[in-house]
């Protein structure tokens, strides 16, 4: 890859000429190999394009079928539920969430209050040192 500069000229409805100019200095063998590779790629592309052109309608038809099938599957799995159910929090759930928020706020406040210096959790200590500090702290 990235072996040559390519110039395509001519009338695409009639004949196109491709001129390849190798990048860097190349010997005659390299030029012959480049020509061979280009012709082989051209043959492969001719087949690939023909197969793609011949099968375009078939491929589109199968994908249309797939879309219909997927819709049928999803409706069978959750009838009438194109979108998630609307949130219906019960009074208990609402109060549970309020409790949760209050609890986390307290926890964060406590954490901030305990903060001493730039590394309140001793997170920058080695594990061994942090464990020792924790042990010393808890036994104190």
């Amino acid at each position: 890859m990235d072996r040559a500069y390519a110039l395509v000229s001519g009338d695409k409805a009639k004949v196109l000429t491709v001129t390849l100019r190798p990048k860097g200095a190349r010997g005659a063998d390299d030029l012959a190999a480049l020509k061979r590779d280009f012709e082989a790629e051209l043959a492969a592309q001719r087949l690939r394009w023909a197969v793609a052109r011949n099968n375009r309608t078939v491929r589109e038809y199968v994908v249309e079928n797939a879309l219909a099938l997927a819709k049928e599957f999803s409706e069978r799995a959750a009838p009438g539920a194109a979108a998630p159910a609307a949130e219906q929090l019960t009074a208990d759930q609402r109060s549970e969430i309020e409790r949760l928020i209050a609890e986390v706020e307290t926890e964060i406040s406590a954490m901030n209050a305990q903060a001493k210096g730039p590394d309140p959790k001793a997170s920058a200590l080695s594990w061994e040192a942090a464990q020792k500090a924790e042990k010393d702290g808890s036994s104190a």
């Binding site: 890859m1 990235d2 072996r3 590779d37 280009f38 082989a40 790629e41 043959a43 492969a44 001719r46 087949l47 690939r48 023909a50 197969v51 793609a52 011949n54 099968n55 078939v58 491929r59 038809y61 199968v62 994908v63 079928n65 797939a66 879309l67 219909a68 099938l69 997927a70 819709k71 599957f73 999803s74 959750a78 979108a83 998630p84 159910a85 949130e87 219906q88 929090l89 019960t90 759930q93 549970e96 969430i97 949760l100 928020i101 986390v104 706020e105 926890e107 964060i108 954490m111 903060a115 730039p118 590394d119 959790k121 997170s123 920058a124 080695s126 594990w127 061994e128 040192a129 942090a130």
Partner: protein
């Protein structure tokens, strides 16, 4: 242009990574169904849009190309049954196969939501994608209000199954917010009757018994990083305070594994580990595998390093050519296969499992990096500590390096605004392999994917240029390696065993009772 499939490996002198036709092959395309092909020398792989495939001997491939495989032949029946003969197609069967293979295309909205609760970290990993800051920078912690709005946004997206994954930085440094999100999300899931999975990615250095109990009680799966033996892991992932981070990881993995062994319900929460391959890892594949075996891990994920975020800056020190990764992958996979064949271990490799789920089972494993259109926005979103939303975690890392291009909104926006954001649309349009030169014709297209952020970082184009893309080279190489081993009866038997054992319990695909933790594996 090679006649054999070495396109994914090594240096290329051909015009394309695609292989050419057999020399002098006669072709008659009129009766052929659509197919891509890849020449492996003695045999050729053919595939189609519907995820069907066949390995053909070279002479059979040439007969197929020339329209010489006739009705009445066994081969004709096989090819017809798989959609390769144009006038013998079972459209209903092929459509069903297409849906199964590409199920993600028919499910609305992202399933994977990565929440960065803090950028702080107490490790300074040499490749850190996550673009972290010093532990003292509490200003990069997600606050309660943002956490609540983040969960509200996630539950406003339409996918019936959601996975929230805690990322960092080191998420345990902002533990109250992790706890809040877990409980608030579970309450919302219950109220909305949605499936919810929760996962925590952490380095274990700040894990405690209380935190572990909370995670187990709430069904949060735990994932960590384990790069290999202590010297390798600690060189890749230095601990800010000094000392061995690997010791800590190994100690917690052992503890949780022991817990999981004693309780079936907890089995799905057995810790998983991610291994990142750096230059230091390349010669040490078997040693790394042995460590995972010794710990009783069921899988190892041999992941290549991505030159994104911080890793891009230090690529010269720890990076490598993708051909080096492929050599490492092939050698290490062969070691794993040998362990399996000899009965010494049943350890599985996750890259292989992901691709084999696609190839052999014809199903989507829910892996974001290998789908098209790309997983960005349609499959996943990343939420920064400050409430900004990115197309993926990699997109967030690019932002951390000063380029906000992949920011698609904030948690106060609507899901529709994020989906309609020009960057979201550009990522989807750029990652359609049908419009990508080379990919559109590649035999691996049914199983492959696109990665706009990687190509933006590497090639300054979200579409990328596949013939020179290391991403393409890596994946094409892995496909080549696996397909060759699928053809060998011994290794095929190992792969089949893996697929039987692996329940494809991908985080974003697992079954759950609405609002409840996962208690059983997928069937």
């Amino acid at each position: 242009m090679g006649s054999g499939a070495e396109g994914g490996k090594g240096r290329f002198l051909g015009l394309s990574r695609l292989t050419s036709l057999p020399s002098g092959a006669r072709t008659d395309p009129a009766g052929l169904g659509f197919f891509g092909f890849r020449d492996f020398g003695d045999w050729v792989l053919i595939t189609n849009d519907y995820g069907r495939w066949q390995m053909l001997e070279k002479n059979d491939f040439e007969r197929f190309l020339a329209g010489g495989v006739k009705p009445g032949e066994v081969l004709h029946e096989e090819l017809s049954g798989r959609g390769f003969i144009r006038d013998r197609m079972d459209f209903g069967d092929l459509a069903a196969s297409y849906v199964r293979q590409n199920s993600f295309r028919f499910i609305p909205g992202p399933s994977l939501h990565m929440v960065v609760v803090t950028l702080r970290c107490n490790q300074k990993c040499r490749y850190c994608h996550s673009s972290v800051v010093d532990p003292s920078r509490t200003d990069t912690d997600m606050d309660l209000e943002t956490a609540r709005k983040t969960v509200d946004f996630i539950f406003a997206t339409p996918n019936p199954s959601l996975c929230i994954e805690f990322q960092g930085g080191e998420p345990l440094l902002n533990w109250p917010i992790v706890k809040f999100i877990v409980e608030y999300a579970q309450a919302k899931a219950k109220a909305q009757k949605r499936r919810l999975l929760l996962a925590l990615v952490n380095n274990f250095t700040l894990m405690t018994d209380d935190k572990l109990q909370f995670l187990i009680d709430h069904g949060v799966s735990i994932c960590t990083s384990l790069d290999g033996p202590a010297d390798l892991h600690d060189a890749n992932r230095p601990f800010l305070g000094g000392g061995s981070a690997q010791t800590k990881v190994v100690s917690w993995v052992k503890r949780i594994m022991a817990l999981a062994q004693t309780d079936d319900i907890r089995k799905p929460y057995m810790p998983s580990a991610l291994m990142t391959t750096t230059r230091l890892s390349l010669a040490r594949g078997p040693e790394i595998v042995d460590l995972y075996r010794d710990l009783g891990m069921e899988q190892i994920f041999l992941r290549p390093l991505s030159p994104i975020g911080y890793a891009k800056r230090v690529w010269g020190e720890i990076g490598y050519d993708y051909a080096d990764f492929l050599r490492f992958y092939e050698e290490t996979l062969d070691y794993i296969l040998e362990l399996n064949v000899s009965g010494r271990s049943g350890i599985m490799e996750r890259n292989a499992l992901i691709l084999l789920t696609k190839i052999v089972k014809g199903e989507d494993p829910g892996f974001m990096d290998l789908r098209w259109p790309a997983g960005t926005v349609l499959g996943c979103l990343a939420y920064n500590y400050d409430g900004r939303i990115f197309v993926s975690d990699e997109g967030r890392m690019v932002d951390h390096q000063g380029d906000p291009i992949f920011n698609v909104g904030t948690v106060t926006d609507s899901w529709q605004d994020v989906l309609d954001h020009p960057t979201s649309r550009a990522c989807v349009a750029a990652s359609n392999l049908e419009t990508q030169p080379m990919c559109a014709q590649c035999a691996y297209k049914p199983w492959c994917g696109a990665e706009p952020v990687f190509h933006y970082e590497m090639q300054r184009s979200i579409a990328g240029q596949m013939p020179t893309s290391p991403w393409c080279g890596t994946h094409m190489g892995i496909f080549d390696i696996l397909l060759k081993r699928l053809r060998e009866p011994k290794t095929r038997a190992v792969f089949d065993g893996w697929l039987e054992r692996d329940l494809c319990q991908w985080q974003e695909n697992g079954p759950t009772i609405p609002g409840q933790p996962v208690t059983e594996a997928a069937s």
